[in-house]
């Protein structure tokens, strides 16, 4: 496979040579070529992690840093496949006994973010919402798994019946009456999510609970984010604190890596995961499907649910097992693997190796105007344009790359109306988002996909970002469009 990659590597010299020939061919003066040479910002994922494909498959590309193309392809197959009931002896079997989705891709249509949905149904392709069920104090209800499950394999019962989950969208009028200073108006919407009490298994019903949804984001580039040194994250947090950002969050969140060592959290909206190897994707392959693998020989399950099923007479009757046997099976830490470590390793080769789409049109004058405004409005305070990766022990060619994710990987409070449990939310990377409509067919933003456009996303930025938002509000219409053009380009 490596021979296929070889001819796709171009040096600056080759680039310049090509552009020179190209320019000569069309009759332009060679000196104009100088202005056309790619700047480093085009290499969003660095020289070894950027994909130069501008189309529907932009999020699916293998970074040139990946040498094992076969493993990458096998990992991709696990992401795209659909898990089914069974004990692991047939392909993709092992789903359940209780689960969230049967396919990774269902939540990441086109390898991108989940879609804004009007209902919660695990069978709806593109529904990347995960339920968040929390109490009055903002703590997750322990009756449910952190990512609550709504599906089960027979004869087990789902903790929550999806028919009792309701997502409704409501108009929001901001402090400016949804109007720019120049008179142009806009609309904003936000979700309210409820779960009927009767839709929850009786044994699991909390005394009080609130519900929110959080959507998936794209997967590309997460391996490069993993390669950012922890020291750089700490330094960035310190710098932000000194500048008045990350208010009320003087301590960085820490989370265990794959070896149990505590590291700075950099993944998920709450920064609750620290490394890719123990990150959202590595975990999702197990906890979304409950497919058992050698390093996770137990179910993603709660004690309350296991007790409820063990006490269920129908489950006992159908399985022909005693109460204790059912409970012990569900809570076992010695289950037979339904997926091999080789499968998991391949999955991680794919996950880590997904390249970032190159930036586009950065030389367009409108985009350049937008860029200038983006920087001058202070957006880059949190949407930190670039990082330098450190030494990557997993993928050597990801080391020492200048990457352009436009995130500080830190949490900020945007004072968003009805934010769910994410009042403090990690800055979402902006790289590649401009291709979402081509790749996924949809183009929504923010943690619950409430923003239907880039413009709405900016207008939801209050709190720490209010000053930047206000500067945006006072731009002319053309300037606002230029900012969006820039966002679409990166």
């Amino acid at each position: 496979m490596s021979n296929k990659m070889a001819h796709l590597h171009f040096s600056y010299l080759q680039t310049a040579l090509f552009l020179t020939i190209f320019a000569l061919f069309i009759g332009c003066k060679p000196k104009e070529v100088d202005t056309l040479e790619l700047s480093e910002e085009y290499y969003t994922g660095g020289k070894n992690g950027t994909a130069f494909i501008n189309g529907s498959m932009s999020y699916e590309q293998q970074a040139s840093a990946v040498s094992d193309g076969i493993a990458f392809l096998k990992g991709e197959k696990l992401f795209e496949g659909r898990f089914v009931e069974g004990n692991g002896t047939t392909p993709f079997s092992g789903l359940g006994p209780v689960y969230i989705r049967s396919s990774c891709k269902d939540c990441h249509p086109g390898y991108g973010h989940g879609r804004r949905m009007d209902r919660y149904n695990a069978d709806d392709y593109g529904n990347g919402y995960l339920l968040v069920i929390y109490d009055d104090e903002g703590k997750l209800c322990p009756q449910f798994t952190g990512m609550p499950q709504t599906r089960a394999t027979y004869p087990f019962l789902p903790p929550i019946q999806e028919s009792g989950i309701h997502i409704t969208w409501h108009q929001y009028v901001d402090e400016f009456g949804n109007q720019y200073p120049d008179g142009e108006t806009y609309s904003l919407i936000y979700p309210i999510v409820t779960i009927d009490r009767e839709a929850i298994l009786p044994e699991l019903r909390p005394d009080n609970y609130h519900v929110a949804v959080e959507a998936t984001i794209g997967i590309y580039g997460t391996g490069l984010l993993d390669a950012i040194p922890e020291s750089a994250l700490i330094a960035e947090h310190s710098s932000q604190q000194s500048r008045g950002y990350c208010q009320g969050m003087s301590e960085l969140p820490y989370a265990a890596d794959e070896n149990g060592n505590m590291k700075v959290g950099r993944y998920t909206y709450g920064c609750t995961r620290s490394t890719l190897q123990n990150g959202p994707g590595a975990n999702a392959l197990w906890n979304i499907t409950n497919v058992i693998r050698p390093d996770r020989r137990y179910h993603y399950i709660t004690t309350a649910y296991a007790q409820a099923m063990a006490n269920n007479s129908n489950v006992q009757q159908v399985l022909g097992w005693s109460r204790d046997s059912i409970y012990n099976y569900l809570m076992s830490t010695n289950l037979s693997p339904e997926m091999s470590m080789k499968d998991f390793d391949d999955f991680m080769v794919w996950h880590r190796g997904l390249a970032v789409p190159a930036a586009r049109n950065l030389d367009d004058p409108v985009v350049q105007t937008g860029k200038s405004l983006f920087y001058s409005m202070g957006c880059t305070a949190c949407h930190k344009p670039s990082w330098i990766t450190g030494n990557d022990p997993h993928l050597a060619q990801y080391s020492n790359q200048k990457i352009w994710p436009y995130t500080d990987l830190l949490r900020h409070n945007l004072a968003m109306y009805e934010p769910g449990l994410r009042a403090n939310c990690r800055t979402i990377p902006l790289w590649g988002r401009g291709l979402s409509k081509v790749c996924t067919g949809y183009d929504e933003h923010l943690h619950d996909m409430r923003a239907r456009t880039y413009e709405e996303a900016i207008l939801w930025h209050g709190g720490e970002a209010a000053a930047s938002r206000d500067k945006f509000r006072h731009l002319s219409k053309d300037q606002r469009k230029a900012v969006v053009k820039f966002l679409e380009a990166i």
């Binding site: 069309i26 130069f52 089914v84 009931e85 392909p91 249509p109 081509v438």
Partner: protein, 370 residues
Amino acid sequence: MKKTNFFLFIMILFGTLSFVGCKKPVEDDDETKWVKIIESYTDNTVIVTYKNMATNAVELMHLCEQMRLNPTDLLITEACKSWKQTRQYWEQSEAFLYGPAEYNSLDPHIDSWPLDLNRLLQVLAQPDILDIDAAYVRTNFGASLVGFHAVEYVLFNNGAPRQSTQLSAAELSYLTALSRVLAEDCILLEGSWSGVEALSADKRTILTQADLTISSNFGKEFKNAGKVGSRYTSAIQAVQEIIEGCKDIADEVGNSKIADPVSSGNVLEVESWYSWNSLQDFINNINSIQNSYYGSTTGIAEHSLSTFVAEKNKDLDIEIKNNIQNAKDKIRDIGEPFRNHLDNHVGADAAIKACDNLFNSLQKIYSVLD
């Protein structure tokens, strides 16, 4: 396997600027050619393929409805033929799974794999299975219980049509509903590319009966690449989409669909468990590349990638054509049914290499897109 393509990216990036700045007739001619290539590809490859698929799916649906009333061996045989015909066009569409197949969730609904057999058996044991209809299936069952492979399960066994006496009333009921959902999805796919107005009256009726609507015309948007309203910002971006779709399936056929089961020796990794149709599926995947490259399902269109490449580099066009044919030949040489020839490593290796060669020659198209 996904590959980066820096060369074309530069083309897209600066090609447009150059056209604007220099206005050279030669470049304008190429741009015009790209637009015509996209038009022919959309009308004569994509829409024709989906139209044929939907037409066959409707026929399959009617056969299944007849079977429910009177399940004869003859009808089952006819339904199996119709399934294979419909499947043929689906496999011939795998070089263009972008757009509505992705955006409208139709790809997973039509062709998810594997079938969730445990759960399907539970569905067939439901007390109300005889009253089940397409609307119920669409609302209540996910992708692993519908589509080609669910229909295949009821119709085929060990690579042959099942006997009428083997089909239970529950299976016939579910099949009737399944085949209608499949037909509806195929019509949705055709209409999403062609526009609803281009659908035949009977297809529109089927959608109306199911309360399904089509609100977009992706084919028009694709043909309008570079114009206001299209998510494709330039004609060459759309051309790139065609090429990448071809490369992607060439790679997948060789290095995944063939390589994985041959490597493991596990017949269950071969997609078609019941019809044993996989080798034909692979050949039709290559036909999907051919039809995309030719800009037509019936030969080389006047405005096609093939004619464009031939004009720029005749040898490359010949190389691609030869590699398309060679890939089909080498796949066929593995032996049918594929699941019974997983030990033919020599044949499989030759087919994988042929797909790799096709991939590499398709990549070379970028060298003439100047």
